[in-house]
Symmetry: C2
Subunit: 493 residues, 2 copies
């Protein structure tokens, strides 16, 4: 047992360094004045070196081997499995490649911020080719070491155990029924009358509304905060979870639902088991499972008719009464479907098509079947097929819109739609267990939802591989059928 | 020159770790929710270990020796001198003593927070004796290594180069003329009519006023922030300076002048030379010199009649017009003298007597001439003699009032009054160079003050030993005569 104790000591130190990293990252996004950036970046780079040194310390390899031999306790076996996963991902790649990718990615991302505005595809392409070259090398090395395909080896960093062989049939299913559903719903909604909210909506009032909604959703303010940043996120540490949003004086709709979304991430973090908080075992299972929490809150609960009926009085109380704030109208606002160019502005129905398009393109790039210079043509072809939109010459609102590819985060996109499908499957299970769920939600009794998520997801952290986690929670492997039923029930009632 | 380059690399790494430490410390005081404290403390303790390891790395001793031999460039000589100072203070004490003192201090300080409220001297004493025992061991080891007296060896950590032989005659001088001056001024002020401001003063309005005053004082908001904490302080890093204050709805007087005070600290940090920012050479000279900046801003400038005339219109603009906000009345408020028990509430005239009392007691404790159990009697005796106050049985407002001794920070107190005397000496020099200074201040032209401080103090960082810094700045060694002239001119005009 000494090997395991040695590992726990090393990973506890790593956990404490990661605490520092999380807090200064949050600060950089939410608090730091502009001129603090250079010193902060240098300090964070130094900390990144320290984190990497901690995870590549020579004694860890032998300690992991020994602990795997020594340990038979199932929780410790899982704990070592998760330690090994983090250790392997830090030790598999030569530091020369990590550095080259980091440099190419930083340069490409930095230039992209202006190139996107300028619709400068040629300028972007020149910086992006070295990034893609690094990603392909990375994928080849990871594939060789793991036995996965190149693309799957990248996916595995965000979604351990998830492969294209699982994703592709599910996405094929979505591609079959989702585009016609989108057309049907947009046609039906064309006849709907939606009353637009009339601003301005003072930021202080929006914040107070957000805090009250977070309270309803069980956010623990003794162990977290709500602040503002350009790109909303959930950060901090499980003991002190920091979520952010972004307010507009003339629109509260996005900021409020953004808070609901981040609160879903936050409750997962706040309820991760404290006994394992210092270990990889105690961390969130995957990016897709994390997104399944935010989408449980935002899509399953937040945009539902009973939840909007529950909070309509709060909206009126904080922002003043007006016809747009009636529950039925709020529900129409929050389920409005419109095809558009931009993924992050997309609604629940069109969002998966944006993701599928990116999944298909990034996989082809990584597997060497598509070259960077051919991306705009394929993007346009798929946008026409999936959403009926013409993106020719419009790189800014086309393949230049996302940050992910600029710094080489290939393999992440599927997590968004996996999360949406997981969330639908959870709520199918919750509805089966709690037949009067909608009435309970409307009455403000959200406890059955939180209890289900807490028992089956939050408290489990990384105890199980993802597939087992989902099967234990819902009784079945992930299936897009629940997502389809949910969408048809909500959008074609 | 390789030894110096090696040192620069090590101290640059240390600087980046200290950046992380400063930001998470600020966060702990200004942002962190209550339940984040345990995890934060563990992360900060881990970082403290790392900082200590970095400063005690075995290669540094030889590199410092070699650099001292190799270097003749005067700036590099000074740079190595300051590196050596930090290295020595980390390497002189055995880690068992550092740990024992930290444990005893943490326990004593934690219990003190409730014991002070409960006026529980006996309870405090039991925890404090081990702290004093550690401090005496520490002082003995430092004295042996430096050749200083025990108490001076502790002072040297906060005020490099300062000794009791310099402090004591100056404090003896103050003890001669200050108590009679206090009596004379309080008698004269008894006849004055002071109009009390009438609240409430909304926090948002107080903050807006504070931000405007910080702007007048040259604070760079692109490289810093203003926030709220229980105990106001100036933190962060030179590139990103974070000051805090504490607002009361029923009183703006303290919060506003607190902001002026912290802005003095902040401008020193913001103007430290960027070329040396990663080196000990680029850090503030000492705690007394730091305090001389905050007191230049608060006492010399902030509480002056022309400055208060300058900001009176801003006070009226943000808090509403009322008779109390006329410049003459504001000047009476901000120069009101009243003897009292509490150091942190003391005015400019009585504050030094609180400091001298503590200096005399803490020196006697460290030198072994006074035992902890005898402190209340000596405290009472000195309070009667210096300020005419009876503190018998009132430990809470007596020797239990300060945090400094609870965790063993002996030797710090003199810095406060050294700072006040330095500030008076700077302003005597500035007035000699700018004869119409008061008229310029009243007209909002503070540039001559900032230029003087910038050229002679801020830009010099730790380039010179303190005594040389002050002599180069003002043409003479520190003398209490300027402080006396300043107080007589302001309080007995």
């Amino acid at each position: 047992m000494t090997a395991y104790r040695d590992l726990v000591a090393s990973f506890t130190k790593l956990h404490r360094y990661q605490h520092l990293s999380s807090i200064v990252q949050w600060d950089q996004a939410a608090m730091m004045p502009a001129n603090g950036n250079e010193a902060r970046s240098a300090a964070m780079a130094e900390l990144a070196v320290l984190l990497h040194e901690t995870l590549t310390a020579p004694h860890l390899a032998a300690a992991l081997e020994a602990a795997m031999r020594e340990t038979s306790d199932p929780v410790e076996v899982a704990s070592v499995r998760e330690m090994r996963r983090q250790w392997r991902s830090a030790n598999l790649l030569p530091s020369s490649l990590v550095e080259a990718k980091s440099l190419a990615g930083t340069r490409c991302e930095h230039a992209w911020r202006t190139q996107r505005q300028a619709n400068d595809w040629a300028g972007f392409l020149a910086n992006w080719k070295p990034v893609v070259a690094c990603v392909r090398q990375e994928a080849a090395l990871l594939a060789e070491a793991t036995g996965l395909s190149k693309y799957d080896a990248l996916v595995d960093r965000f979604e351990p155990g998830m492969t294209s062989a699982v994703i592709e049939p599910m996405f094929a299913d979505l591609k079959r029924w989702l585009p016609p559903l989108i057309r049907e719903v947009t046609a039906a909604q064309a006849k709907e009358r939606v009353v637009a909210p009339v601003g301005p909506f003072p930021v202080a009032a929006q914040r107070a509304l957000g805090v009250e909604v977070m309270g309803l959703l069980g956010f623990d303010f003794d162990g977290g905060r709500l602040d503002v940043s350009t790109h909303p996120f959930c950060g901090g540490v499980p003991e002190d979870v920091r979520i952010t949003t972004r307010y507009r004086d003339d629109d509260f709709v996005q900021a409020m639902m953004g808070i609901v979304h981040e609160t879903g991430h936050a409750r997962y973090e706040q309820r991760l088991p404290r006994a394992w908080v210092h270990l990889p075992l105690g961390q969130a299972r995957s990016m897709g499972i994390h997104e399944s929490q935010s989408l449980s809150f935002e899509m399953q609960l937040g945009r539902s008719r009973p939840f909007l009926a529950l909070i309509a009085p709060l909206v009126k109380q904080h922002l003043g009464d007006q016809p747009a704030f009636d529950a039925d109208n709020l529900a129409r606002i929050y389920t409005r479907v419109r095809t558009g160019f931009i993924r992050v502005d997309a609604d629940e129905l069109t969002y998966p098509m944006h993701v599928i398009l990116r999944f298909e393109i990034e996989r082809a790039i990584v597997e060497g079947e598509l070259e960077p210079e051919d991306v705009p043509a394929v993007w346009d072809e798929k946008m026409r097929a999936y959403l009926g939109l013409d993106t020719r010459g419009n790189y800014r609102d086309g393949c230049l819109q996302d940050i992910h590819w600029t710094d080489g985060a290939f393999g992440y996109f599927p997590s968004y739609t996996l999360g949406a499908m997981y969330a639908a499957q959870y709520f199918a299970a919750i509805r089966a267990a709690v037949p009067d769920l909608d009435a309970r939600i409307a009455a403000g009794d959200l406890a059955p939802i939180f209890a289900w998520l807490d028992e089956r997801i939050w408290s489990q952290a990384s105890r199980w591989e993802t597939r087992e986690l989902v099967e234990r929670a819902t009784g079945a492997p992930l299936s897009p059928a629940h997502f389809e039923r949910h969408l048809r029930a909500r959008y074609l009632p």
